[in-house]
Symmetry: C2
Subunit: 259 residues, 2 copies
């Protein structure tokens, strides 16, 4: 297929890699040149900062920019392409498909649920893609790289994206804080890797609730008190410590739940 | 070596397994019988609820009970054993070695830094053991099961334990919340596993700060606002969402740090 990717951030770069790797004809547009050069150098695909130079006959145009820039890029693209039979999609977990439908005949969303860092290679076959469209172009495109492609409505995708922020972004922030705490005693973050590894490996055999350990779920108030005291000079972390501990206890007692 | 383990919780059960598996002569004491039966059934080692029946000639007695019960078990053990040349250790990250030194000639600490759930098997060779003692009995014991044994003072261990609560217990709680959020749209938690897996795999090649992604580190206020709104009926989660997002931003801007 002929695919145009608009954007050159983490997600856009990985999509360009993924689609190129399975033989699609990929072109990339970005507002500024910097990030484009790295993509040209790596993938050798045509890249441009001028929308007027984009292929007019692509099967799909995929807007993969910061959420609050999607509207603007969509508008420029609509002016540039005019009426087109191609699918125009964005990749944002939190934005509705409606944003595309308002401007294009075939709007869509193709949301790959993964944490993308440019410098970290990924096995694209394992990444779940959540797709929303009338036809099947985006489904076929997603299925050409991944074994896990699902249809999902805009409303459902918003909730899924929220869950992924907790599971990925906030969990990673807990690792950032742990690294910061360790700095006081000159122990490298790598000492925590077996623990972190096991924390996630457990989830293949236990639910996260079953897997929960630590002073809060044991209701070990003596430890909790001492650890809060250790954070006396870091009110920001003390605050997070107290709220997370209280939340763990609430879930254990069953008084917090979407059920 | 002859090892007596006092306790039958998650850590105690895994230590009994680990030490048995490399051929040590293990005996387990616990206050109540319930959890002991499972250990006897699995390992076939002698178990008792009566301290008077413990081996008198063990090389090490390891108290592995809830932190606020350590003092009490240590006191009973001191009355039972009298003066002994054996090492008497606890396994608590947050408690000082001093608690043992006050009652025994050879006090010590052997802290395995891992998340232990009884029903989840572990590769003990990969678990870091942090040891504090005058002699070498605990070091030899730890080295008989693990390739990663370190000496660490009580003060340092307290900080390490705090870091592990963030890296393991609080990260897992983020997974608990994600599972709860997903319940609204009938998507199983397993859909998040590729994302969670990659979140921790990344840490082998990127520092947690480099690995941070998501709306907060992108300063994507539009997404943040919409996600907070999605949590209107869950003020407990909205509160955690806001604080974690603010903390991610503070770390990005560099104004929060132990440096």
């Amino acid at each position: 297929m002929k695919v145009v990717i608009l954007g050159a951030g983490n997600v856009a770069t990985h999509l360009a890699r993924a689609f190129s790797s399975v033989g699609h004809d990929v072109m990339v547009w970005n507002r500024s040149e910097g990030a484009l050069n790295a993509i040209t150098a790596e993938l050798g695909c045509p890249c441009t900062t001028e929308m007027a130079k984009l292929h007019r006959d692509a099967d799909a145009y995929i807007i993969s920019v910061k959420d609050d820039a999607v509207e603007d890029v969509a508008q420029q693209l609509a002016q540039c392409l005019g009426r087109t039979k191609a699918v125009i999609a964005h990749t944002a977990g939190s934005l509705p498909k409606r944003m595309m439908d308002e401007r294009f005949r075939h709007g869509g969303v193709i949301y790959p649920m993964q944490t993308f860092s440019k410098d970290k290679a990924l096995d694209y076959t394992e990444i779940p893609f959540f797709v929303e469209e009338e036809g099947d172009v985006l489904h076929r495109l997603a299925e050409s790289v991944s074994e896990h492609v699902y249809s999902l409505s805009s409303e459902q995708r918003k909730v899924l994206h929220l869950a992924s922020v907790f599971a990925c972004n906030f969990a990673n922030h807990c690792f950032v804080i742990a690294e910061d705490v360790l700095r006081q005693i000159d122990i490298p973050f790598s000492a925590l890797l077996p623990l972190i590894n096991e924390t996630t490996q457990k989830l293949n055999v236990l639910s996260p609730r079953e897997a929960q350990t630590g002073p809060a779920v044991r209701e070990d108030d003596a430890v909790i008190g001492r650890q809060i005291h250790l954070l006396d000079n870091r009110p920001d972390l003390r605050d997070i410590y107290i709220r997370m501990s209280n939340s763990i206890r609430s879930y254990k007692l069953g008084d917090k739940n979407y059920d």
